[in-house]
């Protein structure tokens, strides 16, 4: 085990290397490309026995990764924003085919207008796709989630997205502890499942009539439900082995007697921890809920964790046009019937800064807002 300075991109690449991925396919896009280049360098230097499929577009990147997975190899790809949207058809298809592909997403705002800056709208757009989605608060979690992602994916036979924000995480150096390879090999043994196999020929994705289609979808969704338990147990197992338990679907921080709770996901969480600690010192009963798994959505866990609080401030780095922030909207639905005021805010779109100052301000604003926001309010315009 060693601790080194890594960007989020490098942390994703080290995670892929430790997972001993067998095939990678990618198409360069900003800001995800450094993760790709790092993996290519590992391959060129002989540190990784992985085949690189240098595809001509993002759509083909996931298609090639899918093909490799169907042929039984552990498979990885990386993208963000426009690349992810371009892939969308294959994103849904991969989930339907129950292939355990892992994809890192360096979250970036969507065009138009053109932006290359961070936001979570790209991942949010795939919320109905059938992929498990994990959001990481720092670069250590990027690496650890990569390894857990393969474990989860191969257990429930669903693909997993590992989300970290462009630049804020992808290009920022942090201390990251690299786990021991032998221990990772024990945690994540390679068990190939060949769907396309000349020794056992099968027809894959044959046309499903109304008598069949719905049952496939039911089973696929059951796997997503199963993932709620698996994500938790994998986090616990990983914690026991490597000393870092990132909790399961959500993490409760300073929640014992909390009255006002901040709820978010991704890089805002690490800042929010600082804010919560500070406000606690001032005697305010503030807590934090980190949503680590956005899909499957942890409705039950959130109901339980938030059943005694009086005020929730939920922040979204995304906008679902015509509705509001995705997390805010889903949280309100999950807590339906619980007596709590939920103020929902959109902030930080397209790279607009969200630091501890902004989080403090939004918490203050929320305290002063007597009536619950009906839709998401915009903060920081």
């Amino acid at each position: 085990m060693s601790t080194i300075l890594l960007t989020g991109s490098d942390a994703a690449a080290y995670g892929a290397k430790l997972a001993r991925i067998e095939v990678i396919a990618y198409y360069p896009i900003t800001p995800a490309f450094p993760a790709m280049e790092r993996i290519s360098k590992f391959i060129d230097d002989g540190e990784l026995n992985t085949r690189f499929v240098r595809v001509e577009c993002d759509h083909s990147a996931l298609a090639a990764a899918l093909g490799a997975s169907l042929a039984g190899s552990r498979t990885f790809t990386v993208t963000n924003s426009q690349g992810l949207l371009y892939m969308t058809e294959v994103v849904y298809h991969t989930a339907g085919l129950r292939q355990p592909v892992v994809m890192a997403v360096a979250n970036r705002a969507l065009s138009a207008p053109h932006s290359r800056f961070p936001e979570q709208g790209d991942a949010i757009s795939q919320g109905a796709s059938g992929w498990i989605q994990l959001f990481c608060e720092n670069n250590q979690e990027v690496l650890d989630n990569m390894l857990q992602a393969f474990k989860i994916a191969e257990t429930v036979r669903l693909p997993v997205m590992v989300n970290y924000e462009g630049y804020i995480q992808s290009h920022t150096l942090e201390e990251v502890e690299i786990p021991n390879q032998e221990k990772i090999d024990q945690f994540l043994p390679l068990n190939r499942v060949r769907t396309l196999d000349v020794e056992n020929p099968q027809g894959v994705n044959t046309v499903a009539s109304p008598e069949f289609y719905m049952d496939y979808k039911f089973n696929q969704n059951q796997a997503m439900e199963q993932a709620k338990t698996v994500i938790k147990s994998v986090a616990t197992d990983y914690g026991k082995e490597f000393g870092r338990d990132w909790s399961g679907l959500i993490e409760a921080y300073q929640m014992e007697d909390a009255e006002h709770v901040f709820v978010a996901m991704g890089s805002m969480i690490s800042d929010a921890r600082i804010v919560v600690d500070e406000l606690r010192k001032q005697g305010q009963k503030v807590g934090l809920i980190k949503v680590r798994a956005w899909r499957p959505f942890p409705a039950e866990a959130l109901r339980e964790a938030l059943k005694k609080v009086q005020l929730i401030t939920v922040c979204d780095k995304n906008i679902v046009h015509g509705l509001g922030g995705a997390l805010g909207t889903e949280l309100k639905a999950a807590l339906y019937g619980q007596a709590v005021r939920i103020n929902s805010y959109i902030l930080g779109l397209g790279g607009r800064n969200v630091s501890t100052e902004e989080i403090k301000k939004v918490l203050e604003l929320s305290e002063k807002t007597a009536k619950q926001t009906t839709a998401s309010e915009w903060f920081g315009l």
Binding site: A64, G67, V198, P201, T206
Partner: protein, 286 residues
């Protein structure tokens, strides 16, 4: 090259119980190709008649692994399959993407060109029926000039895109045209392609009697007339060397075109234009 049909393997790896129309040219092409490819083949087929006639629900006519892919990804998926086989040390498997003219020349062209440029160890097959038959027969880039389709009822104004030349320009290992009317030639070309370690492209003219508006029992006959008229040349480009594999008799083009319902609007002037163009350009004038 097998000397006669009797020399071919008796086993059918594709075809029995398929859901194609009677007289389906695509199904004939699949059956013939599998005589050359054999059981150690993984087949990916994008949205097309061929994808749907190969199986539905819990049944499949394929005796090999068969994957019905999204419309535009078969060559990309096959690239990934090859990568996975390589890293697992599996070397004796043919990886084939098999698309219609849309999945090859139009919506599927990007991933095809990408896989060809990388010279992936695979075969891409275009079974060309010259229109989008799986959606009812609309015009595409492989539809020939003047052909009437369901969305161009006055006939296409514009030429058929020359996919064989485009694929040859990629500098790949092997390019060939083939016709279901010449099965031994077709099978020999698949054998050659399967022996290559890089990318092969085989373009099969596989008439659809519904789209072409000819009797179902004449599918093979029209495939033959296309070749004998010179409108569909049988040739190969093997590691850059171009060889014609059949010398046609050059029947007048109208004998091929006029009996087809899709060319019912063809004027004598148009026929003469097609004949003159053919006489000038056949086999690049070689």
């Amino acid at each position: 090259m097998a000397q006669s049909i009797a020399d071919l393997p008796k086993e059918d790896l594709f075809g029995q119980g398929n859901a194609g129309c009677g007289g389906c040219g695509a199904a004939v092409a699949g059956r013939q190709a599998m005589k050359a490819l054999g059981s150690r083949t993984i087949m990916t087929i994008p949205a097309s008649c061929m994808a749907t006639l190969g199986g539905s629900n819990l049944k499949t006519t394929w005796q090999i692994p068969f994957y019905h892919t999204l419309f535009e990804i078969a060559p990309a998926v096959s690239s990934g399959i090859r990568a996975a086989l390589e890293v697992q040390g599996i070397e004796d498997v043919n990886v084939v993407s098999w698309a219609g003219d849309a999945g090859t020349a139009d919506i599927g062209f990007q991933s095809l060109s990408g896989a060809a440029e990388r010279n992936e160890h695979m075969i891409h097959v275009c079974y060309d029926n010259e229109m989008y038959m799986n959606t009812g027969g609309q015009t595409g880039s492989q539809t020939p000039m003047y052909a009437i389709t369901s969305n161009m009822t006055k006939g296409k104004q514009g030429k058929k895109k020359n996919m064989l030349t485009i694929m040859e320009a990629h500098g790949i290992d092997y390019v060939a045209s083939a016709s279901i009317a010449y099965p031994l030639d077709l099978i020999a070309k698949f054998k050659k392609a399967a022996a290559k370690l890089g990318f092969s492209y085989i373009h099969i003219l596989a008439p659809c009697h519904r789209g072409w508006q000819v009797p179902p029992e004449k599918t093979i006959e029209f495939a033959r007339l296309a070749v004998e008229s010179g409108l569909f040349e049988l040739f190969e480009v093997d590691e850059g060397k171009r060889t014609r594999t059949l010398e046609p008799t050059f029947i007048p083009v109208e004998e091929y075109l006029l009996p087809q319902g899709r060319f019912k609007g063809l004027t004598q002037e148009a026929i003469q234009g097609i004949q003159a163009s053919l006489n000038k350009h056949y086999g690049r004038g070689e």
